[in-house]
Symmetry: C2
Subunit: 207 residues, 2 copies
């Protein structure tokens, strides 16, 4: 059986859990205690040198790190990832955009604020929030014309982009100026087998 090394509060992990739910794939969850060094053990770092969750462990025992790579692996052969070469590349393109412009900005700002790591880093936080707004503007520009990110069909690009953009308010970034993004968030939440997430940060994770 597939085994997912993950943390309930991780929205990168939530992407994978959402896709697994929508594909109705059974899996075993291994909760990693990242706040107490569980992802920095020699065994974990051998499977994923970046020391991050989620990691999907295949039936073969192989470890697959990186949430968006896991989405692409699991969605292969399903309607959530096109077989057309150009459409696949556009799907991956939005997922690279997510890892570049959304997750390290809105995701990091959210983590800092929820865990108390923003104290003494006001300028760096303001930079992340401003860059997060720029990413939301790009999404708004696209979603003003299209229902989803690739060809009007819900895909793994939507799952990837939903994970941190819907949490923008927790990063201190309002979604008020982005009506097309808010309408798209509602469409994602209305998909079959949708599950909400991620779980809240545990209070003891605060520094």
């Amino acid at each position: 059986m597939l085994r997912l090394h993950d943390v309930a509060a991780s929205s990168n992990g939530y992407k994978v859990r959402l896709l697994l739910a929508q594909l109705r794939r059974p899996y075993e969850l291994v909760e990693v205690d990242i706040f107490r060094g569980g992802s920095r053990t020699p065994a974990f770092l051998e499977g994923n040198p970046s020391g991050q969750v989620p990691v999907l462990q295949l039936e073969s025992g192989q470890w697959l790190p990186e949430s968006n790579a896991i989405l692409a692996y699991l969605a292969e052969g399903t309607v959530l990832l096109s077989q057309d070469a150009a459409l696949r590349a556009r799907t991956l393109g939005w997922m690279f955009f997510e890892q570049n412009a959304v997750e390290p900005k809105l995701g990091s700002a959210r983590y800092w604020k929820l865990s108390g790591r923003d104290r003494g880093r006001e300028q760096a936080l303001a930079y992340l929030q401003e860059a997060g707004r720029s990413a939301l503007e790009v999404m708004e520009r696209h979603l003003s014309r299209y229902s989803f990110f690739v060809e009007e069909h819900y895909s793994i690009a939507d799952i990837a982009l939903y994970a941190y953009s819907h949490l923008a308010p927790e990063a201190g970034v309002s979604l008020e100026p982005y009506p097309a993004v808010r309408a798209w968030i509602s469409r994602v939440q209305a998909q079959p087998d949708f599950i909400p997430g991620p779980a809240p940060y545990p209070a003891w994770a605060r520094v």
Copy 2:
């Protein structure tokens, strides 16, 4: 013929030019004047809502944004991207890591320093440099055990990660503490049909 919308000084663009050279694929280069708004025109934003280079324009006329998605598209069916599902996912995984942990840290810090945009943002710059060092540590950990990023073979994951990591000194981050990364950089530069890059920033791009 393939048409590449690009800027000589972009290292995201350089990734694509390096791969095209190594695949010996002919293409037409369209130089975009990003420093004077050339990527913010309505026509450009229709093809790529993020307003970023590079964009690959296919023979069909379709626009493919995002450097790493372009790499995956062009490398399909070549030895630079495995056909094995798990190895493909690991290749993409390192490329997502690059867009998350390397490009927005070392790439942004380099851009700020070379263009004068670091003035008044010392704290944010220090954050980017520190995060860039963390990414180089992850790469060092992997490269201490393996010659390349996926299965001991040069792949598009190496092209993606080379683009900004070899420029770390221009971001104000020394490569001295990372001997395995430096040895890997030499191996990448020794590949057949390697071309150096990217071009230096034009002096007039400074603010």
